[in-house]
């Protein structure tokens, strides 16, 4: 009962000052706060140059209450009378901050809490604990001026009207966001050219290919020139060509407009192409926050040695330097511990005639998988 009264009271409050000013006074300046394995201060606050963080998140947590159903008809019947709930902690207190113009990726296995975090930042759901400021606003207050300055794009969902040409949806978008005609026309012209879909705006959306539709979705999301883009799996289901086009456009748009981007993706190519900084999330916690390159340094404990020997076969003594992962004719791939790489290389060069050699980092996917595994054993 007390809860209901509190809810009603809160409702009256929001109803009376619905258009209250954003909580601009509460914006934290510069003091970057991270947890996780690495501390990552890429822009230290100085006395003269104070920059405002675009996203400032502290100890944000979300617990879902999930109905538990027993299997079978008996369980379904019992569920009618007495429901059992289980608390599922999707996000268990994350803190990070993102500066203007950054492109940051959320990495993590399915169910790690990436999308839940993104939903809280977009104001779709209320957190159980913690605070967030996005563009100076509390996102779940859903202030109109906040909603006019960001976009959330979900790869699997479409917001364009299925039966109408994309052009009509864009017009509706102009009305919803109350854009001035000339601003809208300029933005639309620019975006259509950038994505190369200018000739398709009069075609009903259902007749477009998946790639074309995704481009139209992105155009719709960018028409009001958001300062922050939240992208959830933006290239899911697309072919490589369309993926690369979309990556290129997003990069261009970031460079020309300085728009901040936060994305989740399962395609490492997206992450490598777009983001210099990654946040690894597993079990609702930030496990790593830092540059993509350093993720490999920190978690990639081995390097790949690719060797081509003179003659038609590889020597037999390679196994003592590391693990031979591939061998065909005179070519061999060798996985070697990072500390031993120079010793191993000089020993091989001493003993054998090597035609070609290269040292590579292990593929990003395997590094990420390793980070996830470590997160699981720790949790």
């Amino acid at each position: 009962m007390a809860r209901l009264v509190a809810i009603l009271y809160g409702y009256l409050l929001t109803f009376t000052n619905n258009r209250a000013a954003p909580a601009a006074a509460n914006i934290k300046f510069g003091n970057i706060h991270f947890n996780g394995l690495a501390s990552y201060n890429h822009r230290q606050p100085t006395g003269e140059r104070i920059r405002m963080a675009i996203v400032e998140v502290r100890d944000l947590a979300k617990t879902y209450r999930v109905v538990q159903k027993k299997p079978g008809l008996g369980g379904a019947l019992r569920g009618l009378f007495r429901r059992e709930y289980r608390q599922v902690q999707a996000v268990a207190g994350v803190s990070f901050s993102i500066e203007p113009g950054e492109m940051v990726a959320f990495l993590g296995p399915n169910g790690a809490g990436k999308t839940t975090t993104l939903k809280m930042l977009a104001g779709l759901i209320y957190p159980t604990a913690g605070t967030a400021r996005v563009l100076g606003y509390v996102p779940w207050d859903r202030d109109d001026s906040f909603r006019r300055s960001f976009s959330l794009i979900m790869g699997q969902k479409n917001q364009l009207w299925w039966d109408l040409p994309a052009g009509d949806s864009f017009q509706l978008h102009r009305e919803i966001y109350s854009l001035k005609r000339q601003d809208f026309d300029a933005a639309l012209g620019e975006l259509l050219e950038m994505f190369g879909v200018g000739s398709l705006t009069r075609q009903p959306v259902r007749e477009l290919s998946l790639g074309e539709r995704m481009k139209m979705e992105l155009i719709a999301a960018l028409l009001h020139r958001p300062r922050l883009l939240l992208l959830d799996e933006p290239t899911i289901g697309l072919d490589v060509v369309a993926q690369v086009t979309i990556q290129k456009c997003l990069r261009e748009y970031n460079a020309s407009r300085g728009v901040t981007m936060l994305l989740t993706s399962h395609y490492m190519r997206d992450v490598e192409a777009l983001c210099s900084r990654v946040l690894v999330i597993t079990h609702g916690k930030v496990l790593y926050d830092g540059p993509l390159a350093r993720l490999t340094d920190q978690f990639g404990t081995t390097k790949m040695l690719k060797l081509q020997f003179a003659g038609s076969a590889t020597p037999d003594d390679l196994g003592q330097f590391g693990e031979v992962t591939a061998r065909s004719g005179p070519v061999a791939d060798l996985r070697v511990d990072r500390q031993r790489i120079s010793g191993a290389l000089s020993a091989i060069l001493d003993r054998h005639t090597v035609v070609d050699v290269s040292v590579q980092d292990p593929p990003l996917e395997s590094v990420i998988a390793r980070v996830f595994e470590e997160g699981t054993t720790k949790a």
Binding site: I125, Q156, K157, E175
Partner: protein
Amino acid sequence: MLPTKYFHIFRISLIERLTYRSDFFLATFMRLLPMLTTILLWSAVYQGSGKDDLSGFRLNEMIAYLLLVHISRMFSSMPGLAGGIALDIREGTLKKYLLQPLDMLHYLVTYRMAHKIAYMTTSFIPYAALFLLCRNYFTSFPDAATFGAYVLSLFMAFLVGFYFEACIGMVGFWLLEVTSLLYIVNTLNYFISGHMFPIDLLPEELLVVLRVLPFQYMAYFPAAVFLGKIHGAALWQGLLAEAAWVVILFFLARLLYWIGLRRYSAYGG
């Protein structure tokens, strides 16, 4: 609420809805066919009862009433509204109202208005033909003041119907599925709104309750106003009560939405 924004949404929705005009046209014809059986049925009822007056309705008034109820329902029925809201909640598509600077209820009422106007425009000819054929059941056309009150009651019937069904849709925040609830409510509504026959025919004890509830405004009230059954002080009181229900249901729908969003978890991405 930015009036220009919602006006443009209205215009675009109207364009979209008009693409379905042939569908509307067909639906109207299908809906008018049962009218013939209704006329035959009620003629038989009057004959069988041996009276020419049932609770103040003569046979021709009864037929006129049942024709007019079609007009009331044209304004107040909201097919797909509650189910659509519940679906938006269940599938997570509700997020379009949360992400964009757009108010869900303002948007839906605007869209529904466009839908209604598109429907009324396309079904005008079949309805006009029906009323022309049945003109003999109407003894006189109401005077200007009564007709004004009628138009006002119809407009409010739209709002009562909209916010009532929106409230049911909001139940989707608590129940996964609202179609069975909606079915029960609509079946009940068929009787207590006066859709099937004038509520005057119901027992007095029930009538006392029904007169204070919002249901009669979705069918009975506008039709009765047109027929001159409600006049003078009762007319003003009725219109005021209808307006009060618009306000109550408007706020109730908003309140349910507000509370519901607090437990919403944006499933399905």
